[in-house]
């Protein structure tokens, strides 16, 4: 007894858990909205102290505008914008950009092409001039396009080898109709990319890139910057045809419950991706869906990880999420609702069985008030942390533009989350993840997982090559 006391050593003084102090009000920043004479929409937002300015440019060049058989041309065009202009060669352009200490990324997704520039505020004007050059006078040299096409072809095997990327491709392929662009890889396949040349890139650019259908979001500390002058001299010099309406095709999906195994002989883990489509941000249910999805699998203490990770140790982590695929002004858009993670091969069957039990329990018993409260406190409370940098604010503002949402959507969302009750959150989560309407993709060793998965009765099981 005395030995035990001696080895335990002296102890610290314990105090009760402290209470929170008084919260400082914080609101998601309201941007200023304007339009340049050339038709370019501009959203700007002064964020004191943010020396790295973030610029996001949305181009209304969606993937469904790609010509038949040329999937990937939007991606090649996006990359080619920074591979030489009327003023600079490809190498010179990149060197000038890096001389500003800037980074410029461009990528093509279903709603359009997005360019993201980050640069210290003192060099913003110079970097905007380069960005404007890329947008209004890209050279699209044949040799550079050919190089980008070959480079893209070389990337494809790396993407296919990555279990998470492979699962995402398989889910889109099986969920959406084969003739819908959204069913196919965003950056094209080997067959389609091979057919892309400089003429195709230029034609896509001419048809879909112009200031009148584009938006620039600029966020950062503008204390020493004359933003209006900087924009007028750079992006203001970009010219193009007026905007034409472009209808957004509706998204349909077959979410009949079923399982697709992408065979990876010898894989030590199974990558899971379980999904369907559901409401986007235009739908009134969005705040409740955000809450419900968080309670199901937003974090380590949500329902899925409580069992799959913290009780069973099957996984490093499983998450549920809602990710907007594409929205339309009339509200006909959709979000991908999914659960993803990876589990060790031997635990695949038991992990899926537990996952379905979690979903069934949720449907039968609903969320608790305590879960709902914790979710609201987190989702609303983290806002000032999440939006500390200019890049985070710019990204959300640009998403709102891309999804045809009002500029105060995010600011209002926090109020709506706080007003959403447990019953609504439960209903939204249950209708987002109904146990019999989920398409399950498993990238793993079919010889080991096929039988245990069949035994679960979560739908017909198909095995495809890795």
């Amino acid at each position: 007894m005395s030995d035990a006391v001696a080895t335990a050593g002296p102890s610290m003084t314990f105090h009760p858990q402290p209470r929170a102090g008084e919260a400082t009000p914080w609101a998601f920043p309201a941007p200023e909205r304007g339009q340049l004479p050339n038709g370019l929409t501009v959203l700007s937002c002064h964020r004191p102290g943010q020396q790295i300015v973030a610029v996001e440019v949305n181009l209304l060049a969606p993937l469904d505008a790609e010509p038949e058989g040329l999937d990937g041309v939007a991606t090649i065009m996006a990359r080619a914008l920074s591979e030489g202009t009327s003023t600079y060669t490809a190498e010179e352009f990149t060197a000038e950009l890096e001389r500003c200490g800037a980074t410029l990324d461009a990528h093509a997704d279903h709603p359009g092409v997005r360019l993201s520039l980050e640069v210290p505020a003192s060099r913003l004007t110079k970097a905007l001039a380069l960005l404007a050059d890329a947008l209004r006078a890209p050279a699209f040299p044949e040799s550079e396009i050919e190089r980008l096409v070959r480079n893209r072809l070389d990337e494809i095997p790396h993407e296919l080898a990555n279990p998470a990327r492979r699962a995402a491709m398989a889910l889109s392929q099986h969920l959406f109709p084969a003739d819908a662009r959204i069913s196919r890889p965003r950056q094209g396949t080997q067959e389609t990319v091979e057919g892309i040349d400089a003429a195709a890139v230029r034609a896509f650019y001419t048809a879909h890139v112009r200031p009148a259908t584009s938006t620039a979001v600029v966020v950062g500390d503008f204390t020493d910057v004359d933003l209006d002058a900087a924009l007028a001299d750079t992006l203001g010099a970009w010219t193009g045809a007026p905007a034409e309406p472009r209808p957004v095709p509706p998204i349909t999906a077959d979410d009949t419950g079923r399982v697709v195994i992408v065979d990876r002989p010898g894989a030590v883990q199974t990558q899971l991706l379980i999904g369907r489509i559901g409401a986007d941000r235009h739908d009134r249910v969005w705040p409740a869906q955000v809450l419900g999805t968080y309670c199901l699998g937003g974090t380590l203490t949500s329902r899925l990880d409580r069992v799959l990770r913290e009780e069973k140790g099957y996984t490093y982590g499983v998450r549920s999420f809602g990710q907007v695929l594409r929205s339309a002004p009339e509200g006909t858009g959709a979000a991908m609702l999914a659960i993803s993670g990876s589990v060790d091969t031997a635990s695949t069957g038991p992990a899926l069985a537990d996952l379905w039990t979690v979903l069934r329990t949720l449907a039968a018993e609903g969320l608790t008030d305590a879960e709902r409260d914790a979710a609201v406190q987190n989702l609303v409370g983290v806002a000032p942390l999440k939006y500390e940098t200019a890049a985070a604010v710019a990204g959300t503002l640009a998403d709102q533009v891309e999804q045809y949402l009002p500029d105060d959507f995010q600011a209002r969302l926090y109020e709506r989350l706080a007003q959403t009750g447990t019953v609504e959150a439960t209903a939204a989560a249950v209708s987002a993840f109904p146990v019999d309407r989920l398409v399950t993709v498993l990238v793993g060793d079919a010889a080991q997982i096929e039988e245990p998965v069949k035994a679960l009765g979560i739908g017909e099981v198909t095995v495809v090559g890795g």
């Binding site: 050593g9 929170a20 890096e98 010898g266 030590v268 099957y314």
Partner: protein, 451 residues
């Protein structure tokens, strides 16, 4: 001249300041005020990492980091996560060769809660640590290893190269994730002993950055951490010193199911915290960071032999830093052709040094990266801890950009000449294999037997 093209007047520090304090039990404290956003970051660095692990117990520091989230005397189960997230905060922990860090970013009015939580586990983790959480987190960490290393192409390259540049028996020979066998072997008593040895107030630095009242913050820190008993069981880490260069080229060829051939290499570089380390960082930036770098222009643009190329620096203070080259080959290209082009570029750079334009670009890039790190309260808190733990002076975090901008082209050339040659590297070559059906079946049988 280098200062002439700095992007900000204060060269990245934004006029930030930090104050230093020490409690009677040895806990060092760094505070930095910034009232622009109502948030506060808490960061706690323990001076223990995988370099402190012993043979047969690799991965213990990281496994232990997971156990720090399994409750302590006044915090049940997953309470550390639940309480922080429920307060609108975010949190995590990470383990590297040289340290383990824990961090919370909180709405400013919830700062006291984060301090209370960190103090509770620093002072009383063993009251809650049990077999159940040990067994559970062992499985979680093994799945982390599978997800991040074993089930992805080229996933074990980092381990293989590290093992080459740091010889067997060296404290950095193994990486923080550890081996499956050692993770299986770790016992509850190992974890308890690890805590008693390394999780002492005198072996930690606590930083708090953001919208804080320094006097009040220090009073809370004294209240919650001040009574944690000092103890000094820690032995100094094993000696990590090595000759400046490897002395000969080491080489390993991996035949695996990977999507493309690859050339990877690890070079021994100067210790972090020296001018030479900053010079090496600039050299690697000119050579292989970004799309105007020499290797990108040569391999991706001109030769078209590579899908992509990167040359990054893993800064280490207790052992030589590592320069990390990664080239994925284009279809049909032989690794030998890539390797000779790389060697040609490195040799040319060692002879010529960087051009003034290359210096300007590289310094501008590294400056922006620093501004990015310091743009958030959590990034700043982490850097203050880093410089306090590894170099004894948190103020160095606020002047790091100035030091990078002060490096001359001659210093960059000198370090390239001394370090970036074939006799100072481990080389890892990947040659893809396509398993025939019968071989695959054979492999699977082997694995079943092993289980």
């Amino acid at each position: 001249m280098p200062m002439g093209h700095t992007a900000t007047q204060q060269a990245g520090s934004s006029g930030l300041t930090a104050t230093e304090h020490r409690l009677a039990n040895g806990l060092r404290v760094v505070l930095s005020e910034d009232h622009l956003t109502p948030v506060a970051a808490v960061c706690l660095w323990y001076d223990v990492g995988s370099r402190h692990e012993v043979k047969g117990r690799t991965g213990l520091a990281h496994l232990f980091e997971h156990l720090m989230f399994q409750g302590s005397a006044q915090v049940e189960g997953n309470g550390h996560f639940e309480l922080v997230q429920g307060a609108g905060g975010s949190l995590n922990g990470t383990t590297s060769f040289e340290r383990t860090n824990y961090f919370e970013t909180m709405p400013a009015h919830q700062l006291e809660l984060a301090l209370w939580l960190e103090a509770d586990r620093m002072g009383s983790l063993l009251a809650a640590l049990d077999d159940e959480s040990m067994e559970n987190q062992r499985d979680v960490v093994k799945n982390e290893r599978r997800q991040r290393y074993d089930n992805v192409p080229y996933g074990t390259a980092f381990e293989r190269l590290t093992a080459m540049v740091f010889p067997d028996g060296h404290p950095y020979h193994h990486t923080p994730i550890g081996s499956m066998a050692d993770l299986d072997a770790a016992s509850l008593e190992d974890a308890r002993a690890f805590f008693r040895t390394y999780y002492a107030p005198g072996n930690a630095v606590l930083s708090v950055v953001g919208d804080i009242d320094p006097e009040q913050t220090l009073a809370w820190i004294e209240k919650y951490f001040g009574s944690i008993p000092a103890h000094d069981a820690k032995q100094p880490p094993r000696d990590g010193s090595l000759p400046d260069t490897v002395g000969k080229e080491l080489r390993e060829v991996v035949r695996e199911e990977v999507p493309a051939r690859a050339l990877m290499a690890a070079y021994r570089l100067p210790h972090d915290g020296t001018r030479d380390a900053d010079a090496a960082d600039l050299a690697l930036t000119v050579l292989g960071h970004g799309e105007s770098s020499r290797l990108y222009n040569r391999l991706v643009r001109r030769d078209r032999s590579a899908v992509g190329v990167g040359f990054g620096m893993l800064r280490l203070a207790g052992a030589p830093s590592v320069g990390w080259l990664d080239v994925k080959a284009s279809g049909g290209v032989e690794v030998a052709d890539i390797e000779s082009a790389v060697d040609e570029e490195l040799a040319r750079f060692a002879t010529e040094g960087p051009t003034p334009e290359e210096m300007e670009r590289a310094q501008a890039q590294l400056e922006r990266e620093w501004l990015d790190r310091l743009a958030t309260v959590s990034g700043r808190a982490d850097e203050l801890c880093r410089f306090a733990v590894l170099f004894g002076d948190p103020q160095l975090a606020l002047t790091a950009v100035e030091r990078v901008l002060d490096i001359t082209p001659e210093e960059v050339q000198r370090v390239a000449k001394a370090r970036l040659h074939p006799d100072n590297r481990g080389v890892l070559v990947y040659e893809p294999v396509t398993p025939a059906a019968d071989e695959t079946a054979q492999d699977r049988n082997d694995e079943e037997t092993a289980q």
